[in-house]
C-alpha cells in the first residue's frame, strides 16, 4: 500500500515530527511504499541544515535526511510556507537575492500542489501536527 505523510510542526517543540518519523520507519518496515513526506506550516523547519541539537539528543533533521538517502523517500517542503519562515534552497536564495541557503540534503522545495497530488496518488495520507 502507498502511504503519504503530512508534517505540520517543526522539530523539538512538538512531538509531531518524531511521531511522523517513527510512523514512516514502521511503514517501510511493514513493506509498504512511502510515496512522499510533505512539510507544511512550521513543519518546514524540519529541513534546516543549520540545526544543531545537543550531542546526546536525536538529530531530527539528519534523521529525515538519512531516511531519504537510504530509502529514496521524497521529502517535500512547501515553498510558500518555507519562504515565510526563512527556509531557502540554493535556487531560491539566488532568485530572492539572499546571502545564504539552509535546506538539508534529501529535502526539496516545491509547491503545495505536491501535497494535493500526494493525497491523490497515495492510498492513505496521515497528518502529524499540533
Amino acid at each position: 500500500m502507498k502511504f503519504a505523510i503530512l508534517v505540520n510542526e517543526g522539530p523539538y517543540t512538538h512531538q509531531a515530527s518524531d511521531s511522523a518519523y517513527q510512523f514512516a520507519k514502521a511503514v517501510l518496515a511493514k513493506g509498504h511504499e512511502l510515496y512522499r513526506v510533505f512539510f507544511y506550516h512550521d513543519g518546514v523547519n524540519n529541513a534546516s541544515r543549520l540545526t544543531v541539537p545537543p550531542a546526546d539528543d536525536r538529530h531530527i533533521v539528519n534523521r529525515w535526511s538519512a531516511l531519504a538517502q537510504e530509502h529514496g523517500i521524497d521529502l517535500v517542503v512547501c515553498i510558500a510556507a518555507a519562504q515565510r519562515r526563512g527556509m531557502l534552497d540554493e535556487n531560491e536564495m539566488k532568485r530572492q537575492g539572499k546571502d545564504a541557503n539552509n535546506i538539508a540534503p534529501g529535502f526539496r522545495i516545491s509547491g503545495l500542489g505536491q501535497l494535493v497530488e500526494a493525497g491523490i496518488q497515495a492510498d492513505r495520507l496521515v497528518t502529524f501536527g499540533d
Partner: protein, 131 residues
Amino acid sequence: MTDELEMEEGGGVVKKFMFLNRKAPYGTIYALEGLEVVLISAAFDQDVCMAFVDDGVYQLMKNVDTTGIDMKNFSKTYRALEGYDIEKLYVEKESMEARGLTEDDFIVDVTVMSSAELAALMNEQDVVISH
C-alpha cells in the same frame, strides 16, 4: 482502492477531499495556510468540500477588521472560493450554536448540518486534511 474511484473525463482519478477546519483565524496561521491548500486543490479537479467545526467556524465571521493588528484580512478569500468551483461549505450546527452564532453571522452561504450528518459525510471521504 483506486479501482473503486470515479474517473474524471481525462482519465485521471477524482477523489473526495474534505478540508476540515477546526482552528480560529489570526491567533495561529493554520486557517490562512489551510485555505491556501484548498485554493491549490482546485487546480486538480477533485471533489472538494470544506467543513467548519469547533473554533473553525470563527473563520467565517463577517465584520472582520485586521487593521489594528497589521495582519492580512483573508475573509474575502472565502467569498472567492465559488470562483474556484469550491462550493460545498459545511458548518457543524453544534459548533456554531456552542459559540452563540447563526448563519447570518457568516460572510458566505454555508450548509449547516448536524454532527451526525457531518460524521456520515466524513465517512464518505477519500482524503481528510484537517487544520
